[in-house]
Symmetry: C2
Subunit: 980 residues, 2 copies
Amino acid sequence: SVAQRSRGLATIRPQTSLFQPLDVFPERHIGPDDKEASLMLSKLGYKSMDAFIDATVPPKIRIAANAMDNNSIPVLSESQLQARAKELGGQNKPFKSYIGMGYHTAVVPPVVLRNVMENPAWYTPYTPYQPEIAQGRLESLVNFQTMVMSLTSMDIANASLLDEATAAAEAMVMAFVSTSQKKRSFLVDSVVSPQTLAVLRLRAKGFGINLVVGDAATALEDQGLRSDLCGVLVQYPDINGSIKDYGSLAQSVHAAGGLVACATDLLALALLKPPGEWGADIVFGNSARFGVPAGYGGPHAAFFAVTDSLKRKMPGRLIGRSRDALGQPAYRLSLQTREQHIRREKATSNICTSQALLANMAAMYAVYHGPAGIRRIAVKVHGYAQSLKSAIESMGYRVENTSFFDTLTVDTSPVTSGAAVVHAAAAAANINLRQVDDKRVGVTFDESAAPNDLVALLNVFASAPSARKLSLSDLQEPTGTAIPPSLQRTSEYLPHPVFNKHHSETEMLRYINHLASKDISLVHSMIPLGSCTMKLNSTSSMIPITWPEYSTVHPFAPHDQVAGYRTIIKELEQDLCKITGFHSATLQPNSGAAGEYAGLCVIRAYHESRGEGHRNICLIPLSAHGTNPASAVMAGLKVVSVKVLPDGNLDLGDLKVKAELHKDNLAAFMITYPSTFGVFEAGVQDACKIIHDNGGQVYLDGANLNAQIGLTNPAKCGGDVCHLNLHKTFAIPHGGGGPGVGPICVAEHLAPFLPSHPMLPEKGDQAIDAVAAAPFGSASIALISWAYIKMLGGKGLSDSSKMALLNANYMASRLSDHYNLRYKNENGRVAHELLIDLAEFTKSAGLKVGDFAKRLQDYGFHPPTCSWPTPTCMLIEPTESETLEELDRFCDAMIQIRKEVEDIITGAQPRDNNVLTNAPHPISVIASTEWDRPYSRETAVYPLPWLKEKKFWPTVARVDDAYGDLNLVCDCPSVEELSS
Amino acid sequence: SVAQRSRGLATIRPQTSLFQPLDVFPERHIGPDDKEASLMLSKLGYKSMDAFIDATVPPKIRIAANAMDNNSIPVLSESQLQARAKELGGQNKPFKSYIGMGYHTAVVPPVVLRNVMENPAWYTPYTPYQPEIAQGRLESLVNFQTMVMSLTSMDIANASLLDEATAAAEAMVMAFVSTSQKKRSFLVDSVVSPQTLAVLRLRAKGFGINLVVGDAATALEDQGLRSDLCGVLVQYPDINGSIKDYGSLAQSVHAAGGLVACATDLLALALLKPPGEWGADIVFGNSARFGVPAGYGGPHAAFFAVTDSLKRKMPGRLIGRSRDALGQPAYRLSLQTREQHIRREKATSNICTSQALLANMAAMYAVYHGPAGIRRIAVKVHGYAQSLKSAIESMGYRVENTSFFDTLTVDTSPVTSGAAVVHAAAAAANINLRQVDDKRVGVTFDESAAPNDLVALLNVFASAPSARKLSLSDLQEPTGTAIPPSLQRTSEYLPHPVFNKHHSETEMLRYINHLASKDISLVHSMIPLGSCTMKLNSTSSMIPITWPEYSTVHPFAPHDQVAGYRTIIKELEQDLCKITGFHSATLQPNSGAAGEYAGLCVIRAYHESRGEGHRNICLIPLSAHGTNPASAVMAGLKVVSVKVLPDGNLDLGDLKVKAELHKDNLAAFMITYPSTFGVFEAGVQDACKIIHDNGGQVYLDGANLNAQIGLTNPAKCGGDVCHLNLHKTFAIPHGGGGPGVGPICVAEHLAPFLPSHPMLPEKGDQAIDAVAAAPFGSASIALISWAYIKMLGGKGLSDSSKMALLNANYMASRLSDHYNLRYKNENGRVAHELLIDLAEFTKSAGLKVGDFAKRLQDYGFHPPTCSWPTPTCMLIEPTESETLEELDRFCDAMIQIRKEVEDIITGAQPRDNNVLTNAPHPISVIASTEWDRPYSRETAVYPLPWLKEKKFWPTVARVDDAYGDLNLVCDCPSVEELSS
Ligand SMILES: Cc1ncc(COP(=O)(O)O)c(C=O)c1O
Ligand SMILES: Cc1ncc(COP(=O)(O)O)c(C=O)c1O
Ligand SMILES: O=C([O-])O
């Protein structure tokens, strides 16, 4: 190891000018310093970084050295960035929003804000695929699931989807699939949110579903519709606030063989009869009003719950309770066999990254408030709506909905010349109301409203009919309820101990901290997950997102109130275009997979616009991430697989054959670059040419963009569209499984087709329908990538990619002396990640990839990506943020494990009872009185000396996957279970 | 145990009115809910809280039930508080400060801001008296000491004092004491900071030191002064920015038998010859420009370093490296025998709570920047000053100092009609300059300055002589330096590995997190330290203090710029007066002990004002905290001890005898209420009457105020003055040993004597001199107590005291079945804390208090206060914030330990090798291959079942105190040490 446990006394560089800032970000973001970089280069045999890059990246695809420098993207220091973010934040006008439509001003419990949302221990972990070092957030996600199941009265719930509108689309597809795709008509009640409808429209098109929008109460009288019906979607309460009884509708839909999907609101369910009690099969919605900021659209966790019979078809991540090797309870991800990375083109959902962090926040909100607290908040919100209603009715306004929870639709015509008068008065008071139509305005209350807000709102309405200023005394405390008696909730909710014992801030803080203490994250050690790019998520980029000027903005706020957000979005889109070489971008997709779907829909729309709507073949290499084929299917494409050569390269011959075979119907080719094997394929441009020659478009999966910046780009490689995972390359933290942002960038000819949104009137008429609930997706965290790019500048971005390549190659060089490195190029180089093959050890030592992974946990590391893209491999990606010392620590661990394996191969240790097969070793194991293993306790837990000073301890022994899938339990323990 | 592991499904209370806020703080602050409170009351045999209180607090001292309710202190909800704090923050004007004088706009590394200052794991621990569960912050404090030693070139440094001015006073007293108090003259150079001078004046008075202010270069020519000289104090660079060579002065002072104390600036020392190289004996200053916000005065850590020969006389906390029972390195607090809690009236310093959190921040700043980074910052600051100097000299201004680091004193008269013209231009540009005199202004640069700031400043100066707007191009990059060649630094600094390997943000984050993971804090479990009141430090109260509108304000900013701060200070003072029953208050003292000193000085000034300056006897019970006698001595008083009865009560007979004996000279009586034994003495008013009858004033030590609010108060008890520990009763977090705030409240007759400050012109002429460097002490954290009081309101405050009493009595009741409860009143009640006596076990089992304390660590608890106020006792204080479940957990642990002790008593376990004497047991112990102890590993570490789910692990075995004091090593390991 060359690092020798120190970064050396070097190399914070002296200033070149007195007037240069000192708090420059690249020095802090890039792990190795100059001395370490030189050491690594010389170990690899290069005199300079340039020489190394020349040997690593194929010359054909290189872009000019100055294509990505501080002229193309100027650099800001950390404090300059803060100042700029403040300035732009000041351009978002702080209006009080009553727009509703699924978005609210949440009240984030301060202890949750600071200790979850602003805490790297919560925001930097990865998706909990390694349950032994993730029991904390797994428990919290089970709390989320339990909260959803209990409030909706459904049998099972998953641990979040991307947003309410895409959850609606997932529900529709479940209904479709549950009829074996035989019945194609899906009825949507006309009073659902416009964004839900827009997303449904596009998704229905991809699947060939016949979407019928109509009045749920009467539409089923049409026998034609009934006979082809796969499902119905209603919203409860509906977009206008009304609460209707869908009980008999549900019976009728079930009689017709369809499913009932219900969009709803968790807070309302504290007072409403839950959908599970009137017959809904699928219940979903946005959980954000449980303590997650509006953030101009997100990120927010959607919830999704189904009846027991549908559980194995449910999309998204599902956490279950299982047991570990010692028989102790342990949480884990369940039923992964139903996910797209397994089912590929047979999958009907492509969801991968979801909204774990926000689901955890919502769950913590429920833990903090408990059933009594949630009820109290629901009563208040309902009471405010009641109070306003009586007050404005007495002024002459007509409230259209007689039943409601928090939302009133107000006919202004009895009192005013039109809704515009009321909106104008509202604007003058810094208030936003929902724009319904010329006559009507909408008002939705949330937890944040205070008496003075209500008074201000009252005076908005009062200003039209009267000039008298009203005050609190003009408002009445409501008596009774506006919820129809038959739809009032009578069942209890959240009786589980976890929701009833952490109500003091001290207890809450300890609970949050206790769970965090069970989870490994970037605050502990490197997370070398291939394809996931777990790099620094800098504090400077995280700070602005919780400033109120960003966090409280409603996604449908009028454009003139969000100049700050608009500038950030525009700058980020422009920078991403510079980086990818493309023309236009959209931030709407909420994950990489959502980007894939969006990009393919754009390609389809392009073909259609040229009268080639029949083009429906999508070529995808076998090595592609499972989301690729799943997304293709969702976009209505047929997947044709392309072979991959043993060295990781695409089989260009096979590609050519298939492209030509399908040339009349070729729609698209999806390719990941560098490939999922960590290979810079020199032939990428040739591959793209083959596709273009045969009338197809090239979709470039940009998950691996971290290898490219400033060296090549997707346009140069020959692509037409790509998505980027901002939560990989552009430093949005992984959040324990999300949020993500998956923008797509497109060449000029595809720009007109980028997604529209019902609240984005400026989009042209060629635009496809929305792919997400909010116009700019998870807008608030786009700030993180915007800040990341601005603080690195073009040079820093490019240096980061170079260092990511160097770090990976250094590791490949060290590890290849001990392990079988699957691929390197003719110069001996890998890209930004490396694939090592452990197949040989199955025979020689009876070991599987999982044994190596679990053993790495004992060394205090999160394992690399396992068994993907190749079942016997580990895919290792260090990123530029790790120092040489940390790379060496990881390599030392892997090499020591190799020695441990040697003992098994030679028979010095038994094949069925050794440090690998028994890994990981939690403290409870070594604390036990008995010890009958053929190795010592110290060998088990301190195999290398530095572990005594610094080690992350798994909290459970190896988790039993089979048991968990067989005995699926997805909620928290009840009072009875805990006391037994 | 009655809690049965759940708070029940109760008692977030339903709203009484729709218009009441829901985010009410008392529900979150007070641990037990209604159900738990009822359980505890019934366990104690009371029907109501009132009945319990009546049996607990002596009727004679009770105040009216409505004396402290929401009429006297109105309540704000958490969000209302945030809004109010925002509003007031907006009233502090964001001027850019060049005032200097020891305070700067620090650039806080974002990763330190969020992960240290805003992280409860760093701000809620207690002073590291239990080293086995505090290795993280002990290591960080050693980093602080090392940083100071290295930059100053001194042999040894402590882990912070309260501020630079009080550090100067400590230095003066060390010099005085080192002559065995024989030489009484102490020379202070006239060009030191005015606040330093003010604090020195008052302290000199108390000790009878003859303070001579004069020109250091010439004053020693006076032979009279030389012969009585105990020391000289200089400032380097001086208040006007000049850098002088004090080498020959030092020789001359040493020749005269005195010591040289030097105030200095750590950043300047990156470029200046360090004081240790030119002969200083004591070097001190403010470390805040190393990444600690100005905060309108603090809190900031002062540094203090001395030569080897003075180390055992140094005040404050000193961290050393020792070893643990396994021979492994371990950190600990060293040389405690020199502290006031041991030396009492023989102590010459009363410092107790200091500035640990801020010292940790400064140390982390040095870790983050390293020597190269610090040098770069120093070069920039110096360069800005040079650049400004050339620019304004070319306009005709005269810069008076030719040598300088960051500060220029500018004679404006050649160009303007006076300094006022320049100040006016500055004010118009939102800039503050130092007000020197009619002709001269001062400019001090800091790290925060950017080129546009320099241009703005340039234009301030330009506006008088010219109308031309200047730009960056009018500034020159400096060449050379303004530091005299002989005073340039040539020696290296901070070569230690810790300052050279954590420069990437990722590494820094991991280091911060790694250290935090070694420390127990309120995020883990209760910290039942008697007399320390470790209660919830709420997020809502912590959030505002790092808002820039509070954190960046210079303490000497003109009054009209700080209306927000002034309102908060006034409201807090008023609320504290309501709570104590007194007339006036000051927030200036930076700790409880500093408050004691201030209060006693006020009493002395009062006597003097009545021609009774000879009154110099201070009666203090033997049970008093060690700071009381130490403070009395510092105020020039003679301590006469008063006996305490075995039941904890003051011996009123002895008091009477001594008061009468000393009646001609009686100055004061100091009493803690409830007493340090946790006793509500019914005779407190009688005691006070005795004092008043004999001409004395009563000083009430308010450390235990948490027992009193709304039930009684210091005025009602008979006091004339009291201090409050805002870091106890009023929820300022303990910060791992500070910061503290120790305001004093006084009766009307003492109000005129409250401390003044050179920058507080409005104080009357009877006011005593300053007791702290900043006019309002650590003003920024006064916000925390202000928020705490406002969010609880009168009723919540009073309910908190009641619950603190109930919690303590519940514990007393459970524990008294197993342990010897030293005191209870005639109704069987204790106050807010309880004293259990472990003396019996020395004989029966060979155990000391420390053995119980270390064993409690194995149960995941921080031990209670040990061996104070009685060597064989533990003093347990739960506070109102702990739930019944947590109280039970702690009691269960104590009871289980009692069972373990029984095994030793009966001989089932050996006296010299058992779970107590071997405690604590870190993981490394149970991981060891050999195990030859007479108990199992599981018994060692999991003595109760819940520990398997949740346990805090000590990281070292029992630390060897004797070894550490004998082999005093107080800096970090060097490269050589680490590599060996
Ligand atoms: C190559 C590749 N493509 C696509 C995706 C999907 O991205 P997301 O998880 O954001 O949906 C991933 C995610 O890991 C990936 O590695
Ligand atoms: C009774 C008592 N008095 C005075 C003090 C001194 O307060 P501080 O540590 O803030 O200087 C303490 C501190 O613990 C105390 O317990
Ligand atoms: O800090 C104390 O000495 O109590």
